[in-house]
């Protein structure tokens, strides 16, 4: 912005100044252009002047060359060389009129005496002439001085020596040329009006001048700087020089002819008017045009601004003044148009409308501020949080809740007091430090907790939150206070409970997985990581379906939607078995207990999962074993039933003959004693006793078969007496053979008395049977022990057997001898084996044909439990 001093205030003046500035700039441009034109014209003029100068030069050179040729020709003439004065004078007189450029012909002897001249001259000696001396010395063509003859035109002489065949200079010939021919040359060249051409020698003496109407130039010298310019060889430079006629011209200077040094110069001067005439005329015309345009523009600006701008601006001025005065309803009404004035008008109208709106809003805001002020007062006094205002370290305001928190009832107890009055001494430093720091504008935690001592002495934890405010012009702090004692206790309990929960969840052997109601995993404990092979971070937020095989996912999704809508799971409170899917895609059976819970209106489900692969395997094995067992039990029951039926049959059928034997023997003894001899009665008694013995054996056999099925009582057995009892029993039937038997002391054993006795009976019976044919039958009962088990044996010297058949020995109804050789049913050893097996013992035999046999059976030692 230009200073006000130099720039008119109103719009119209400024417009005109602007136009003038533009016109000035245009004028400057035109002048600059004209100067350029003048430079161009000057260059053009110089070229022309140089052309003319060159024309003069060429002309001059041709003249000199002509003179030289003429002289060369003349010097060859014998009449010259022989100094024939009469002939020479005649030649010269004839020759001169034909050479219009030349004014004198002259021939002299080498001593300087002129012997021939035209026009004629008497007794002229030119010995002192510099031109003469120079020619004789150089013996070549010489251009003499340009000089002005008194009362004559300026001339220049050329001379040449006449040299004979011997090389001796015989004569000197010179011709003088009239320089006025120049005027003819320049008259032929079309020089601009007022131009001058000047010929001058190296001294500056003017030799010829065009125009030459007056001869005032004769005997004068050119201006020094023209001469300097010519001598310096700056022939083509243009110089403005004021000439002798008092008129300034532009000059060029060119040397005319030079042998060694330039001797003659031509200068051409042209009037500036002629050079710049065209440029000046163009300039004048342009300036005139510019002046006319400037005038029209100024007029247009003066009246146009009135028409197009000033009225509207005045309108706008009026509107803005009204607005400034507070009349916000003022409007310009200029709505059409797109120029700046209209835009300005619209902006002002818009501004006015906005202002009106803003003012209306402000009024409403002020109203609501008043209301909020009232509301604020009510809030401050009724809010549950304590509110205080501190200035510096002093309380200046507290509300009712603040007093209540501190157990006070009168604001005077606090207001005006230092703010740390009721703060627990340990926490005072903290509160003061933060308060002061906040006042200094340092960043301080906005919300923190400290403890206060209430008027009744109890300590409470309060949470404070402070904001810097201005209170009655002073920087102050607005402090909100809340008693958090109960909350702290609750939080602590919650944290403890949560820690407990976390430690339980994290240390749980079962996987614990919680999901939200979108099915996204929110909790995944360490056991879950172990069981599923996922890190918690990998699955948190992912759908829980990643933990199950794909074929169950859609079913799960449906069930899950149902769960979420009903808020509970069909599985809730039950333990169900499902299939889990590990990270590596492998599947495994899981047992799941599911529960749901709500937190902040969100529904969550928590599953406790257990990998039951091992249990399932075990169950499968148990199942199989149970099946086997059941089948075998059934089989056993069937066998038992068969066995029982068999036993009953045995009992029924085997006893029948015994009953008959016994019964009829008894009838004989009872009814026929009188007729029977004593021996017959004894024998009948033996028959009856045997029948009864048989009955007993049947009983034992049936007992034994029952024992196969039922557990029996084991007691410690005195094996020696048991063996003896067995022997005694057998001895009843065969006392003689029984004598052959010896019983060695036997180790006691555990077992069933009747059954073990039966073992001895059977083995002894066997031994007795097979030694019956021996001359010296021998049966030995003995025992071996190794501390764990006792091995009992019954050794005989009977017929023995082939060991090849030893494996058949203990089979039921297996016999190694024919019935005709040895009686027997082949059950005795089978019974032995069964009984011993039932006692966890073993039975075996060693024998050689005809060398006797030894039967062994082992039983656990008596001290050991069965």
């Amino acid at each position: 912005m230009l200073p006000r001093l130099f720039f008119p205030a109103n719009l119209r003046s400024r417009l005109i100044v602007l136009i003038l500035l533009i016109v000035a700039a245009a004028a400057a441009l035109i002048v600059s252009s004209a100067l350029g034109d003048r430079r161009l014209a000057l260059a053009h003029a110089r070229e022309r002047m140089l052309q003319i100068a060159r024309l003069a030069t060429t002309e001059h050179e041709q003249l000199i060359e002509g003179a030289r040729q003429l002289l060369v020709g003349l010097t060859q003439l014998p009449l010259i060389q022989r100094h024939e004065a009469q002939a020479c004078a005649g030649l010269f007189r004839r020759l001169l009129p034909q050479l219009p450029s030349y004014v004198r012909l002259l021939a002299a002897k080498p001593n300087g005496d002129v012997f021939c001249s035209a026009p004629s001259a008497d007794s002229l000696n030119i010995k002192e002439s510099p031109s003469f001396r120079q020619t004789l010395e150089s013996r070549s063509f010489t251009v003499g001085d340009y000089r002005t003859e008194i009362n004559a035109n300026p001339v220049v002489s050329f001379s040449y020596p006449a040299i004979d065949e011997r090389g001796t200079v015989q004569a000197y010939v010179a011709i003088s040329m009239d320089l006025s021919w120049f005027n003819k040359v320049f008259a032929q060249a079309s020089l601009p009006p007022g131009a001058t051409v000047c010929l001058f020698d190296r001294r500056g003496a003017i030799l010829a001048h065009y125009p030459d109407k007056d001869l005032s130039w004769k005997g004068r010298f050119v201006e020094q700087n023209l001469l300097t310019q010519g001598l310096a060889g700056r022939a083509e430079a243009v110089t403005e020089i004021v000439g002798s006629d008092g008129v300034g011209r532009f000059h060029v200077v060119a040397p005319l002819y030079q042998l060694e040094e330039p001797d003659l110069f031509v200068s051409i001067g042209v009037l500036p008017e002629t050079i710049f005439a065209e440029a000046n005329q163009t300039l004048r015309r342009d300036l005139a045009g510019l002046g006319a345009i400037a005038f029209l523009a100024l007029m247009g600006a003066w009246f146009g601004s009135e028409l197009f701008y000033l009225r509207r601006v005045q309108t706008l001025l009026g509107v803005t003044r009204r607005l400034a005065a507070g009349d916000l309803s003022a409007r310009s009404g200029l709505v059409a148009g797109r120029d700046e004035i209209h835009q300005l008008a619209q902006t002002i109208d818009g501004m006015a409308a906005s202002l009106e709106r803003v003012m209306a809003e402000r009024k409403r805001a002020e109203d609501s501020l008043r209301e909020s002020e009232q509301l604020y007062r009510a809030v401050v006094e009724h809010v549950a949080d304590g509110i205080a205002i501190n200035v510096g370290r002093t309380r200046v305001f507290v509300n009712g809740a603040f007093l209540k928190i501190h157990g006070l009832d009168d604001p005077a107890q606090v207001v005006g007091q230092p703010l740390d009055t009721f703060i627990l001494p340990e926490d005072r430093a903290l509160v003061i430090e933060r308060t002061l720091a906040r006042q200094r504008g340092e960043p301080v935690r906005q919300v923190y907790e400290y403890r206060i001592v209430r008027s009744d002495g109890s300590v409470r934890t309060v949470q404070t939150s402070a904001t810097p405010i201005t209170y009655r012009g002073q920087p102050a702090a607005l402090v909100a206070l809340r008693d958090r004692t109960e909350e702290k206790i609750a939080e602590e309990a919650l944290r403890e409970s949560e820690n407990k929960f976390r430690s339980v969840v994290e240390t749980a052997i079962d996987a614990v997985v919680s999901i939200d109601q979108r099915g996204a995993i929110v909790l995944f404990n360490a056991s879950a990581e172990r069981i599923f092979g996922y890190a918690a971070a990998e699955v948190i937020g992912r759908p829980v379906t990643v933990l199950m095989p794909e074929r169950f996912r859609s079913d799960h999704a449906k069930a899950f939607i149902r769960c979420v809508s009903t808020g509970r799971s069909a599985m809730s409170g039950r333990i169900v078995e499902m299939v889990g899917r590990r990270k590596d895609g492998s599947e495994f059976p899981v047992e799941i207990a599911l529960s749901s819970w709500r937190s902040q209106n969100e529904l969550y489900f928590t599953a406790f999962l257990r990998d039951i692969t091992r249990r399932k395997d075990s169950e499968a094995i148990i199942h199989r074993l149970n099946d086997d067992l059941r089948r075998r039990t059934e089989q056993l029951q069937a066998i038992n039933q068969e066995l029982e039926a068999f036993s009953y049959s045995v009992s029924h059928d085997l006893r029948a003959p015994l009953r008959a034997i016994h019964g009829f023997s008894k009838i004989l003894l009872d009814d026929f004693a009188a007729v029977l001899p004593a021996e017959a009665q004894r024998l009948l008694g033996v028959v009856s006793a045997n029948a009864q013995q048989m009955n007993k054996l049947i009983d034992d056999l049936l007992d034994f078969s029952r024992l196969i099925r039922q557990p029996f009582e084991s007691t410690v057995l005195d094996m020696t007496s048991l063996a003896r009892a067995a022997l005694a029993e057998l001895a009843k039937a065969d006392p003689n053979l029984a004598l052959a038997a010896t019983v060695k002391p036997l180790e006691p054993a555990r077992g069933h008395e009747g059954l073990i006795k039966q073992v001895f009976i059977n083995l002894l019976a066997n031994a007795l049977k097979f030694t019956r044919g021996r001359a010296q039958p021998s049966v030995e009962i003995g025992c071996l022990t190794n501390g764990k088990e006792n091995t009992y044996y019954v050794k005989d010297n009977g017929v023995g057997f082939d060991m090849a058949y030893a494996h058949k020995l203990f089979g039921v109804f297996q016999r190694l001898h024919s019935a005709s050789e040895f009686e027997g049913t082949g059950v005795g050893l089978a019974i032995v084996k069964r009984i011993v097996s039932r006692h966890h013992g073993r039975v075996w035999a060693e024998a050689e044909v005809d060398r006797g046999a030894t039967f062994y059976f082992s039983l656990p030692v008596a001290s050991e439990e069965p």
Partner: protein, 142 residues
Amino acid sequence: MKTRAEILLVEDNANDLELMRRSFRHHRLASALVVARDGVEALDYIFGSADKAGTSHTPKVILLDLKLPRLDGVEVLRRLKADERTQKIPVIALIASEKDSERLKRDQLPVSGYLVKPVDFQNFARAVSKAGLDWMIAEANS
């Protein structure tokens, strides 16, 4: 033929029959003893068989061997107890050994008592008495 104290003895063993008859010989009940040799005969006697013109009998007591040719004693017992005409007739099982009585208990056979063979009169009297048929003994001894 109708007797006042009819005893049906179902027994296939001739020796046993003879020994029993001898034991009963000195008692009046001997004449009341009717013998059936197997289960079929026993049932024919009681219910009357078609080829014997259908004469049926209701013995006062039946002594029944459980193991019989043709029809087993157990089956005979089942049929008797299944028919309301005969289900009240006391049946005394004849067994070979005291130990066989276990089977009677275990199978819960509906018998009024048992007798271990060989059956002599004393044993019979004890068994009848136990079965509440004392009148039969009184009659036998009268």
